[in-house]
Symmetry: C2
């Protein structure tokens, strides 16, 4: 029995309580300043209002002011913030983490440096903290939605990090008969693949609305167009994972994650609205302005790629799906899928 | 305007009438001996009883006895049989085809030779015909269901064959603003990828029934387990495409095809029934004994792989998902997904 402290009480961070609890650990869940109501609810009744489930018996909830107390004696810290909380986590939490205490991030995303370099969050955070203090920053990739993890549905994920023995220890701490864990030292590859899937899930979802525009909302889904976009997404993701220096073997985590992301949540809803022909502004109004990881990552990656294109390192025309998603989000274009650009000659 | 003769009036062969017609060609549809009622219906009213749609105006229907008449003057023959009709097509149709007349097969599958070699149907057919008469045998791969092609939904497919200029000509003859065509000379890779997807679609569909067994039929789908199987399917398909000598670039056609196959038809229904815990025999009884490409390909590939394993060329344990599908189909086992075998160490 060890103590695991989760910082960030969003849906994914909180869902990690389940495998941690089922391994017999002491589980502490600390809310960010944005999670006050969630923590108050968990303290009162164990009910998590956005995950819409009761957390396992024994999970101890802490408000942010109780962070140091929650970290006391912890043998693992799980970073449960979204990509929008990465700077906060780096500035407010990481300074309290000693170098021997491993961190496992559930955050998916890539940070874009001003020179067009795309780096995974563990590397970004290490830069923020400074290279003088070497932390053990690991991350979870692969297809796993929070609801289904909390429901103990079979899932296969990947823990990535620099050090194989740390990864083996984290796997041993968290694996259950429903939560299955691969490990990889290809941090750049795994993180790029699973971050990019958010942008491409938006791209594939465009096909849903596209058919609804022709056939009416609620029509039978058409899968040929979705599959065509899925195949193109895979080609572009494979290229991008290679460009950032990731390994080919890591792509499958992102592709499986793309699959699961298409079938749930807000990215699918946004893609569907855009596919119907709404402008990005109108779609975001309909979604009440929620902030989406998919929008953030598509924007960041496209921006970085344009910088790389100016340097002559890549051509945006080799990424017609990402380019079109970026045009819709950031240049006011309406959906007009460039199907012909998805055909190739392999001779 | 050219004459295109389609031999085999199943759903996919018949759906090819649509892009052929929309390119302004003369379209002739010839039924096999199993297609008598379909052809009679099309002759009478253009209605295709299994595709459940009217074929385009002007499509000319022929019974098998009228085959030679239908081939007269044709500039392209489309082979519209399923994998179960490949021998019939090779023996009854190919002898009538002159060497200058290209053939485009919609058939997906792999033939297993007695030594464990897996070969694509264009190569298998050429062997059947004899190497003395060199035919132009090309094939369609990629995600495209017949219903959606007939409905003119956007689709991206791949035509593969030995000769780039023939492929370019076939593309020019059949491309429309909804039917988009890549071309590839990697016949082995494209055909292996799109054949294997049938076996793996059965594997991924197991997850659907698995959750229904816990939650009841008609429950909300769980995507973490499907995605875990999808990722494992991708890894195994990538290995197998490499083993038969295919190129990595061809894998995406099979993965996109896997995506579309999971969402429709009989393979999904069979996988769902097996996932609920039915034996293969009981599931086939429920499906009234229909013959399934997925069962045929999984059986053929697993058999070939066991021969290869005896030779020391591969290990079946490197393909735990296909191995389990084969055990269910051919060894009387009930579903028991080997999740732990899907975890890997990438160090």
């Amino acid at each position: 029995m060890r103590t695991i402290t989760i910082v960030g009480a969003g849906m994914m961070g909180s869902a990690m309580c389940t495998p941690a609890h089922d391994n017999g650990h002491i589980v502490r869940l600390v809310g960010t300043p944005l999670d006050r109501e969630i923590i108050a609810s968990v303290k009162q009744s164990r009910f998590h209002p956005t995950l819409q489930r009761h957390l396992p018996t024994g999970v101890q909830a802490y408000q942010i002011e109780e962070l140091e107390q929650a970290l006391d004696g912890a043998e693992l810290v799980i970073g449960g913030v979204s990509s929008f909380g990465v700077d906060w986590f780096s500035e407010q939490v990481l300074p309290l983490i000693p170098t021997h205490l491993p961190v496992l991030l559930v955050t998916k995303g890539l940070a874009a440096e001003s020179d067009g370099e795309l780096i995974p969050f563990p590397h970004y955070m290490q830069r923020k903290v400074g290279l003088g203090k070497r932390l053990s920053l690991n991350a979870v990739g692969g297809p796993c939605t929070s609801y289904e993890l909390a429901d103990r549905r079979p899932s296969v994920v990947c823990f990535c990090g620099e050090d194989a023995s740390t990864l083996a220890r984290l796997k041993e701490m968290l694996e259950t008969d429903y939560y299955h864990i691969s490990i990889s030292t290809d941090v750049v590859g795994v993180e790029a693949a699973v971050a990019l899937k958010n942008a491409y899930a938006l791209g594939v979802s465009l096909a849903i609305g596209l058919i609804e525009r022709e056939e009416g909302i609620g029509c039978r889904e058409a899968y040929n167009p979705q599959a065509a976009l899925f195949g193109q997404a895979m080609r572009e993701m494979a290229s991008l994972v290679g460009l950032v220096g990731g390994k080919e073997e890591s792509l499958a985590f992102g592709i499986a994650d793309l699959y699961v992301t298409i079938f749930g949540g807000r990215t699918r809803r946004l893609g569907t609205l855009l596919g119907r022909g709404l402008s990005f502004q109108d779609a975001m109004t309909e979604l009440e302005g929620i902030t989406l990881e998919s929008v953030a990552i598509a924007t960041a990656v496209a921006k970085a790629m344009r910088i790389q294109e100016e340097k002559g390192a890549i051509k945006m025309t080799d990424f017609p799906l990402l380019k079109h998603v970026d045009e819709i989000i950031n240049q006011g274009k309406h959906v007009s899928i460039p199907w012909k650009e998805f055909t190739h000659q392999f001779l």
